[in-house]
């Protein structure tokens, strides 16, 4: 069995997450991916905003930075630009990343700065008790959408791709082994990489939306996720109401800090001597 101890700050456990919460599943997938890639713990900076998901960095033995709500990518951009040799990983919730942090999200993608973002999408504001987020499905219930959400919701992967991200993938908490591979690929991509993880918040979302247990929510993930390969053989009707998983998009693009390095070299032609 995989030994997580090397990466966990065991003295900080137990974690704050509710029983059945999907956040721990993602945490473990991130650790496995980092282990598989043999990234030195000293070289990795994990940055988060505010939310249940954003508590992840507190439990792992890296350089960790728990910032302000929505701003993780802004801080992470500073870290990466200042010390491009560091691997920078951002973890963020759907509200953190696409509501209050939406502007930073599209601009980090536009710059294609070498940051890997793991976005925990539980379709709700978990930490504050179940208010609607930009990914709460239309018609779903939230404490601030007590009569059903009338807002349309974001397709975060499409948003990232349109904004310029060079790697876009989606996984689920149910398909945990696939998640390791997606996160590994995301980290290996030199540029802005997004892994959106569909996961369950049984407490703030599930209970309001007729999911009796976390298991029901995992089952929902299983039944609604369609891998990109499988989807290629399906009709539009068959895909109705489903979401795609796997690597949705990848394209090489100039990366921000590398471009800056080139500029420095261009301006200081003799600096190498």
């Amino acid at each position: 069995m995989f030994n997580y101890n090397e990466y966990l700050r065991n003295e900080k456990l137990p974690h704050i997450w509710c029983p059945g919460c999907g956040d721990g599943t993602v945490l473990k997938a991130i650790i496995r991916a980092i282990h598989n890639l043999q990234i030195r713990k000293d070289d990795l900076v994990m940055v988060s905003g505010i939310g249940c998901s954003s508590r992840t960095p507190g439990y792992v033995d890296f350089n960790t930075l728990h910032t302000t709500h929505g701003r993780a990518l802004a801080f992470a951009t500073g870290v990466k630009h200042a010390k491009p040799g560091l691997k920078v990983l951002v973890v963020s919730g759907d509200g953190d990343a696409t509501a209050i942090g939406g502007n930073h999200f599209i601009h980090a993608a536009r710059r294609n700065i070498d940051i890997t973002m793991i976005l925990y999408n539980n379709y709700i504001y978990g930490m504050t008790g179940g208010q609607a987020s930009p990914t709460t499905p239309t018609g779903s219930f939230a404490s601030t959408a007590p009569y059903g959400n009338i807002d349309p919701n974001f397709d975060i992967c499409a948003l990232a791709q349109a904004a310029g991200a060079s790697f876009v993938a989606r996984g689920t908490a149910y398909h945990a082994p696939q998640l390791d591979r997606l996160i590994e690929k995301a980290i290996l991509n030199r540029g802005f990489s997004l892994v959106e993880v569909m996961l369950q918040c049984p407490i703030a979302y599930g209970r309001r939306n007729r999911f009796k247990t976390a298991n029901d929510m995992l089952k929902w993930q299983k039944e609604h996720a369609v891998s990109v390969d499988a989807a290629a053989k399906m009709t539009a009707e068959e895909l109705e109401g489903k979401f795609l998983t796997g690597v949705l998009f990848q394209k090489e693009r100039p990366e921000f800090t590398a471009q800056y390095e080139h500029m420095i070299e261009r301006l200081n032609p003799h600096s190498e001597e």
Partner: protein, 379 residues
């Protein structure tokens, strides 16, 4: 007369940039806003030539975040802005206070509220500099009046930020930011540069928020082998969030007292002709220029007038002013706002002397004549 070697004729914003470079600043993140933009533009053009890093962020909130992130890797970092942008930076300035991340924020003040007077001067961010971010905290803010002063004050802002692990605010205003004066950069070895204290213990022993004797914990660079946690939540010495009331109390008190205990080292002010003065002008930033001229005119007319000019406006040079108030019957605060520093002066003077205000609110500087007129009125 032979022109001085190395004499530059530069804007205040340019002097600020030069001071930052001399202080060792290597990172700038910002968002354009008049009347501060020249600082960003100079960093954009010069930093890459010197191995430094510039980035134009998507807004001021992001710029402040990026500055903090860069500082955590060990680079001296700064941002520059004005009123509306200064408002946006406040949340992350609070983060820098809480997480004790050194950085410098330049606010080249313009008229407000809101978009206000983009191209004209004001000193109406004095209290926002003090209390702009939520929660109990101390802040350090400097308000220079001349181009050479801007240069040295900028260096001092970095020094104070590094020594006390705290954000420091350089409060300029449109007048001093855009006016030009001669600047002679002093020789490098005549300038003291302070750097943050980095840990010397082993990573296993490192406590990033240790209660040291000085009140200022050692700071490790991200990526240097000391892996630790940084959060804006109340935390204990290990840096991790805590709900322990004792630890929270101790932590918040330390954040405040680490500034308070070192007031003597932080505070800088100057005086002019106060020994026999009946009336003392209190002024800073561009307004202090008008006050100086008013003082000279008043003295020439035989009026016993002095000037008290804080360079560090936060923490305010409280003891020095209180001593003066034992003797002086009238203070006139000269500032281009509704009396933001006057409030502080009144608090310190505590009713022992009258405190008057000469101000403008329309973007125009205070005329020396209006100060002289007021001196005659109160005498």
């Amino acid at each position: 007369m032979e022109p001085k070697k190395n004499a530059l004729f530069v804007q205040g914003n340019h002097a600020c940039f030069l001071g930052a470079v001399r202080a060792g600043c290597q990172f700038f993140a910002g968002y354009p806003i008049t009347p501060s933009t020249e600082i960003a533009e100079l960093c954009a053009s010069e930093f890459p030539k010197m191995g430094g890093r510039f980035i134009q962020m998507e807004d001021e909130i992001a710029a402040m975040g990026a500055v903090i992130g860069a500082s955590l890797t060990g680079l001296k970092s700064m941002t520059a802005t004005s009123g509306p942008g200064f408002s946006l930076k406040q949340e992350n300035i609070g983060f820098a206070i809480m997480a004790e991340v050194p950085c410098v924020i330049v606010d080249v003040q313009r008229g407000g509220p809101s978009t206000g007077l983009p191209t004209q001067s004001s000193q109406s961010d004095v209290l926002q500099a003090r209390w702009g971010t939520h929660g109990d905290h101390e802040i350090i803010a400097l308000a220079p009046s001349t181009i050479p002063e801007i240069y040295t004050a900028t260096i001092r802002c970095f020094n104070l930020a590094e020594r006390y692990r705290t954000p420091v605010i350089l409060l300029l205003d449109e007048i001093v930011g855009h006016m030009r004066e001669v600047l002679v950069e002093p020789p490098a070895d005549s300038i003291e540069i302070w750097n943050r204290t980095r840990p010397t213990c082993s990573p296993a022993e490192y406590l990033p928020y240790r209660h040291t004797e000085s009140g200022i914990p050692e700071m490790a660079d991200f990526g240097s082998g000391y892996r630790y946690h940084v959060t804006g939540l109340c935390h204990d010495e290990t840096g991790f969030p805590t709900n322990d009331p004792k630890k929270i109390d101790r932590h918040v008190r330390r954040l405040i007292s680490k500034i308070g205990r070192h007031r003597d080292e932080i505070i800088e002010y100057s005086t002019r002709a106060i020994e026999d003065a009946d009336v003392v002008l209190v002024s800073y930033g561009s307004s202090a220029r008008s006050a100086k001229r008013a003082l000279d005119d008043a003295r020439a007319a035989g009026l016993k007038v002095g000037l008290f000019k804080p360079m560090t406006i936060w923490p305010f040079p409280e003891e020095a002013l209180r001593l003066l108030a034992n003797r002086v019957r009238n203070f006139i605060v000269c500032e281009t706002n509704m009396g933001q520093m006057k409030l502080e002066v009144e608090r310190i003077v505590g009713g022992k002397a009258a405190v008057h205000l000469v101000n403008t609110l329309n973007g125009e500087p205070i005329t020396p004549q209006s100060i002289v007129d007021r001196i005659r009125e109160v005498m």
